[in-house]
């Protein structure tokens, strides 16, 4: 009864309800018919797909490409292993009751070292896989992971520098932060592509992945710096004074007293930066890398699967949506757990 009154209580509400219900009744069934009822799940090529529905056979045929890009199929277990490792470390950070510091160290140091070795190969008898073959969702994940991992310390340094009493250091940090926040990411990706090889000595070549990565790291650091600065501002000044009164060196005071509190305050903002960065890694497809967006764009030009843009992009959107939701969820869990134990871990 209360629900009925909420939906039809006043004439205005009733009109709104009817209008939205009509809109949903018009779109949802036809969407479901396209995506499920009339869809084709197995087919050899485009001609095998029923015309009125989605052609998910295309996604099934190209799934390996979407997830791993050009990574050799025989070696894809290495990607899976690296992903499992990162996932386990992340879960450890989120749910471990004790020794959380060790889990964080594993995530921030162990996973990059082990994951990098696994993915690039060349050591321990692993076949080397050139970065040009890296692609698909895996590339988005690698780019985001490395960029965030580097942006947290770099951004913290920039934030501390921005609050420094030394005018030159402060000016330098302000200039760096404001530059990177004031330019479009795609613009600086182009800049990295064109100018980075130019400012390095002759004979030093950087592959495209590293160029994009350098730009992403600096870009994310600037946004991270502003979020951490907000956290630093939230730490009461008395904390720093108390640390000084205990005889801690300013560096020690920052590391053990101020920053842990600042990071905890900044955590929601940090999660936002991570989610935004993960979505923005799709921009590397415009500068010639084959991340998920890039391989979808490329697959749509495949002669035997022409004209399937809706299916391709819908699937990519679904993957990104799921990943972003997981990231936000992890952020919420971490926030709650840090609040439970305010003495930190």
């Amino acid at each position: 009864m209360r629900l009925f009154r909420a939906l039809f209580g006043t004439p205005g509400t009733a009109v709104l309800t009817v209008a939205i219900a009509a809109l949903l009744a018009w779109t949802v069934p036809s969407l479901l018919r396209w995506a499920v009822a009339a869809a084709t799940w197995t087919a050899e090529n485009r001609r095998g797909c029923a015309p009125g529905g989605a052609c998910w056979a295309f996604i099934r045929a190209r799934l390996g490409l979407f997830l791993y890009g050009g990574y050799p199929p025989a070696e894809q277990w290495r990607v899976n292993l690296a992903a499992a490792l990162a996932g386990a470390a992340l879960l450890g950070c989120l749910f471990a009751r004790r020794r959380r510091g060790a889990w964080f160290a594993l995530l921030l140091i162990g996973v990059p070292v082990a994951g990098g070795t696994l993915l690039a190969g060349g050591l321990f008898g692993l076949r080397p896989v050139p970065t040009a073959d890296w692609g698909g969702l895996m590339l988005n994940a690698v780019l985001s992971f490395v960029a965030v991992g580097a942006a947290v310390p770099l951004g913290t340094l920039l934030a501390l520098g921005r609050r420094s009493p030394l005018p030159f250091v402060r000016g330098l940090c302000v200039a760096l932060i404001e530059f990177w926040r004031g330019v479009p990411l795609l613009g600086v990706l182009f800049m990295g592509l064109v100018l980075l090889p130019m400012v390095l000595p002759q004979g030093v070549t950087v592959d495209n992945l590293v160029r994009a990565l350098v730009v992403l790291i600096l870009f994310a650091s600037a946004y991270m710096a502003e979020v951490v600065r907000g956290g630093l501002q939230g730490v009461p000044h008395g904390q720093r004074e108390a640390a000084a009164a205990l005889g801690l060196h300013p560096l020690q005071a920052n590391l053990t007293v101020v920053l842990p509190q600042a990071w905890r305050i900044a955590l929601p903002g940090v999660v936002n930066v991570v989610v935004d960065l993960f979505k923005d890694t799709t921009l590397v497809s415009v500068v010639g890398l084959f991340d998920l967006m890039g391989v979808v764009n490329q697959s749509l030009k495949d002669q035997s699967w022409l004209g399937l843009a809706q299916e391709g992009y819908a699937f990519a959107a679904l993957l990104f949506f799921g990943c972003c939701l997981l990231l936000s969820l992890a952020g919420t869990v971490l926030e709650r757990r840090l609040r439970q134990r305010p003495e930190g871990g």
Binding site: L7, L166, V183, M191, K279, A309
Partner: protein, 385 residues
């Protein structure tokens, strides 16, 4: 993401400032600064020398005089006149106008749709609130580039050709070539519309007690009718294989505006919701007990107060929209990045100059707007509290 303006700066004093420096800089502080200065100078000098070597090897130098030379390429969509004999410098202006057009339309769309989504989300109607929430979550958790490309390749590029256009009332047509709509023939149309907008703004300001539909709606409607009657109309019509006459918005522009605008609307709606929520319930109750209708208490009491906390994040979103217009390069919309970092760079090989221009334009706009915003924010905060 937060601007300096959106930080919890309070009255702009106190917390945000670094602690005051010691009266006399210590030797250590000076030494650190000199060290940092030397490191930065060394890095810049090293990079500049390498760049100089690279330029010398290719036998070119850094010279912006190329902007005055003949461009020699075509720009598929322009707001002003463009011929391939025009200069590179003029191409920057033409591409800049395209960027401004895309940004302005996207800002309009993001604001209006964001307001609608926020009001739906806040409404007591559970169906409206739930629909808005699902839409917002879907929009803000998928990449912006994906949405732009989806609109372009999955929606606009699969529209029927000109012969089978979707027609709206026989004057507006949508097909794979873009959106066609009638163009007014005389400039009086613009003048009359402008006068109507001014009149609407003035009347709704002067007579806040009358309903908005009367004070703002009547002048706008009247001006539109008058303007429509004053001018003749150039109607788009099929001629040969395509439409001729009227105005055309190309599918690249439509996809860019829809992609960026709708994506940003999700974020804008969250900010509007938060700002409205931050206005105390007592304000609303007080407005109601004074006898104001729900709509007018929203418009006269809640929204003006919400605007103060809304403005910094809203500006931030607008700046993001301006930066995001560069995504047009993914679907070949002729905006600044596409024209300069692609066409001009490929044609002239002047990497340093083109990238400086492109990034400089965006950086200048961003810094100027942020600075203006910070000033305005400080003024609002000062008056309000």
């Amino acid at each position: 993401m937060s601007t300096p303006a959106s930080l919890p700066a309070g009255n702009g004093r106190g917390l945000a400032r670094p602690p005051p420096p010691a009266r006399r800089p210590s030797f250590k502080a000076v030494a650190w600064q000199v060290l940092a200065m030397l490191a930065v100078a060394g890095l810049i000098a090293w990079a500049a020398r390498n760049a100089g070597d690279a330029l010398a090897r290719r036998n070119i130098d850094v010279d912006f005089a190329f902007l005055l030379t003949r461009a020699g390429f075509d720009i598929p969509f322009t707001l002003t006149t463009w011929a391939s004999s025009d200069s590179y410098g003029y191409a920057l202006w033409v591409a800049g106008l395209n960027t401004v057009l895309a940004a302005a339309l996207a800002i309009l769309l993001a604001t209006l749709l964001g307001l609608v989504l926020a009001l739906m989300r806040l409404s007591a109607n559970p169906l409206a609130a739930w629909t808005a929430r699902a839409t917002v979550e879907l929009l803000r958790n998928t990449p912006q580039l994906l949405q732009v490309v989806f609109w372009y390749f999955a929606v606009l590029q699969v529209l029927p050709g000109p012969r089978a256009s979707l027609a709206l009332g026989g004057a507006v047509f949508l097909n794979v070539r873009g959106l066609f709509f009638p163009a007014p023939l005389s400039p009086w149309f613009g003048y009359a519309l402008g006068a109507g907008v001014l009149l609407a703004l003035g009347l709704s300001r002067l007579l806040p007690r009358l309903p908005l539909t009367l004070t703002a709606g009547a002048p706008l409607l009247g001006a539109t009718a008058l303007a429509g009657a004053l001018t003749g109309w150039d109607l788009p019509a099929m001629r040969g294989f395509n439409f001729a006459g009227g105005w055309r918005l190309p599918p690249e522009l439509l996809a860019l505006v829809l992609g960026i605008g709708i994506y940003t609307a999700a974020f804008v709606s969250e900010n509007i919701r938060a700002s409205i929520g931050a206005v105390g319930w007592g304000q609303r109750e007080a407005a109601r007990s004074l006898g104001l209708s729900p709509g007018r208490s929203m418009r006269l009491v809640v929204l003006p107060q919400a605007l103060r906390t809304l403005l910094p994040p809203l500006t931030n979103h607008y700046l993001n929209i301006i930066k995001s217009t560069t995504l047009g390069a993914a679907i070949a919309y002729p905006e600044i990045l596409q024209i300069f970092a692609r066409t001009v760079l490929n044609q002239s090989g002047r990497a340093i100059e083109t990238m400086t221009l492109v990034l400089g334009v965006f950086l200048a706009v961003n810094l100027l707007v942020s600075a203006a915003m910070n000033r305005w924010d400080r003024r609002l905060a000062f008056q309000g509290r």
